[in-house]
């Protein structure tokens, strides 16, 4: 099936070359980091995780969001999602590969990463994160590939794909729950120390994942002969709508608790994000933009006339996707680490080199996504044609 990826239009090859160039630039920047250490990043003693882990956290969410097409189709026989389940599964694969890459580029000693397997440590949440992330990646590759292959051969998928799909559903919830547990089980970090963190992660994931999927559907419609179906996209947009409202609601709950209780070690972080702390307010415009984008996006999706507008829907989805990215990637890291445990205010901004490395990881993810989507859409064109 992979041979399909080697036949494409001029535009396809141009895109592939562009992605390879981005990956190459990221790789060159990474070699320097590998040789000289994480000193090239904007991270510090006080903000010890940065742009890499931020993007990792966000992309775990996009990966988990794929389950929002799997559940309706496999558990509720929602036929309209038949054509796009593969897109959800392959999106999860690409995102998980980016997640793993972001973890690797964040390690101080990447050559020692297998120590996590050599000395398995069940009291560390990273141990479980490793299991669920790799498990979910494996499940999606196997299921996606097998189902697509069956479709190409116009036979029923082999029987064991179904139980694997069912297993992948708790795994999807699991990857984001465990990723939230990395943060919310730490005693000294008031911003993360909240039981609603995992639900909030899931809510934003189920908004950002399907929102990105809708945008991908538009791209697929533009560049291939395969039509994911407007009705499927409409249902997806309703899922995004519910999820983004849940995310905003959870954030409102957080704000109520920290501001009404007024406990300084919890309040200081939210205060820093929304209004700045001791004159440090780098995150303030970002956070309000994020809330604005997510809030406006929710309104656009709530009103049927706006939701059904072909031209507006991708814009709405981009707003929600970007808003959720600021909220969960930038806000989660900056909010958690600022102020520091000693209540020093050390702000963080990624360096250019850090950004190029991150871009390289995104390039690698998009490369994988392009190949997988090329396979999926070509097979579906073949079968239909």
């Amino acid at each position: 099936m992979l041979e399909i990826a080697f036949k494409g239009s001029k535009k396809y090859w141009l895109w592939i070359v562009l992605l390879l160039a981005v990956i190459g630039a990221g790789a060159i920047a990474y070699v320097d980091q590998f040789l000289n250490g994480l000193m090239i990043t904007g991270m510090s003693r006080d903000v010890s995780w940065g742009f890499y882990i931020a993007n990792f956290t966000f992309l775990v969410g996009v990966a988990a969001g794929g389950v929002m097409v799997v559940i309706p189709y496999y558990l509720h026989d929602y036929e309209r999602f038949h054509r796009i389940t593969i897109l959800g599964e392959f999106l999860a694969v690409a995102c998980l590969i980016m997640c793993l890459l972001f973890i690797v580029v964040d390690l101080g000693q990447p050559t020692r990463m297998l120590n996590v397997l050599l000395y398995p440590t069940p009291h560390s949440m990273l141990f479980y994160d490793m299991i669920v992330l790799n498990g979910y990646l494996f499940l999606n590759i196997v299921v996606g590939w097998k189902v697509l292959e069956a479709e190409r051969n116009q036979v029923e998928p082999v029987w064991w794909t179904k139980p694997l799909v069912l297993v992948s559903i708790p795994f999807a919830i699991g990857i984001h729950t465990v990723t939230a547990y990395l943060y919310c089980g730490l005693p000294g970090r008031g911003f993360w120390l909240t039981a609603i963190l995992a639900p909030r992660f899931l809510a934003s994931a189920f908004a950002a994942g399907p929102a990105f999927l809708i945008i991908l559907c538009y791209i697929i419609r533009k560049f291939t002969k395969f039509d994911p179906g407007w009705e499927a996209m409409q249902t997806l947009s309703k899922i995004v709508c519910y999820a983004i409202i849940a995310n905003l609601f959870f954030f409102a709950c957080e704000c109520f608790v920290v501001y009404y209780s007024g406990i300084p070690s919890h309040l200081a972080h939210t205060q820093y994000l929304l209004f700045g702390l001791h004159g440090h307010n780098m995150m303030v415009p970002w956070m309000w933009s994020s809330l604005g984008l997510m809030g406006l996006g929710a309104i656009f999706l709530l009103i049927p006339k706006l939701r059904n507008n072909h031209a507006l829907l991708p814009v709405t989805c981009a707003m929600i996707f970007f808003g959720a990215w600021i909220d969960k990637a930038l806000g989660m890291i900056a909010g958690g680490f600022v102020p520091s445990p000693l209540h020093h205010v050390t702000e963080y901004a990624p360096t250019l080199q850090e950004g190029i490395i991150a871009l390289g990881v995104y390039g690698a993810g998009l490369f994988v996504l392009t190949i997988l989507y090329k396979l999926a859409t070509t097979v579906k064109e073949e079968v239909r044609g």
């Binding site: 000193m39 003693r45 010890s48 000395y119 005693p187």
Partner: protein
């Protein structure tokens, strides 16, 4: 097995003082009568032991000079880099300069409201305002860093010291996020160009690993007091928290002491007499 034995080595170092004391360390020939082929480990008679090591800092004896002396003594002996110096251009022609905030500190002075942010008080006694509260790793009884570490590179010894295996650390920095005291450091770059004079008694570290105070486990093993204790002019006392007759238990019985962020349940082993 090779890797495992290196780890057990670190674990027993405190109680056994392998290769450091004058006493014989390993008796490889001891196996005959027992029929056991493994090497036998004997204790260094002079090494200091405790059921649970703890520290008491008498803040009335802290001055800026004492705080600086403690900081210098510790950092010098443990090869903690000083990023304010200029590396030797002949030895390290390509050494880069580090960014602000990427420095390494094992024990250092902080103002009261940073050392004890949960005890902030607008009517705080005058004398505390400029007092250099020395802060370091608390060697918590319930250490969040030990819980977080995915490779057990950070682990707790039987005597309560929270210590690290620098060769196992993968540099994920989960422990830094977990520590509620900001006591952990990451080597953002190779520290060696910034060590003015390498102390032979302690290993230097490589880039990409975390490090922190080890309560001078290497010195306790030789029967010596930690560097901070020696440099503190009586302000710092280290001893056995579980021994009711120990000096630090007497100090705790006689004085009112506070610990950092007690409410978190980490059970810090560093006490402050105020």
């Amino acid at each position: 097995m090779m890797i495992k034995s290196r780890r057990s080595f670190l674990k027993v170092a405190g109680i056994a003082a392998i290769g450091m004391g004058a006493a014989p360390v390993m008796n490889l020939a001891a196996s005959e009568s027992h029929g056991n082929a493994g090497p036998e480990i004997t204790k260094n008679e002079e090494s200091l032991h405790a059921k649970r090591w703890g520290m008491v800092i008498d803040t009335s004896k802290l001055t800026e000079e004492v705080a600086e002396a403690v900081n210098k003594a510790c950092h010098k002996a443990h090869n903690v880099p000083d990023f304010t110096i200029t590396p030797d251009p002949e030895k390290y022609p390509h050494a880069r300069t580090i960014r602000d905030g990427q420095e390494i500190k094992w024990i250092w002075p902080e103002h009261f409201h940073y050392a004890f942010p949960d005890k902030e008080d607008e009517f705080l006694a005058e004398k505390f305002h400029d007092l250099p509260f020395l802060v370091t790793c608390n060697h918590c009884k319930n250490a969040p860093c030990v819980q977080a570490c995915p490779t057990q590179a950070t682990f707790k010894r039987e005597d309560g010291i929270v210590i690290m295996d620098y060769h196992r650390c993968i540099g994920c920095r989960f422990c830094m996020a977990a520590c509620p005291y900001g006591s952990r450091n990451f080597n953002f770059m190779d520290p060696r160009p910034f060590i003015e004079e390498t102390a032979p008694g302690f290993p230097t570290r490589t880039k990409g690993v975390v490090e922190k105070c080890n309560l001078c486990a290497e010195r306790l093993a030789k029967g010596e007091q930690p560097h901070c204790v020696e440099a503190s002019e009586g302000a710092i006392v280290v001893g056995d928290l579980e021994d009711p007759e120990s000096k630090i238990r007497h100090l705790l019985a006689e004085h009112y002491t506070i610990r950092r962020k007690q409410s978190l349940g980490t059970e810090p082993s560093v006490y402050y007499i105020v």
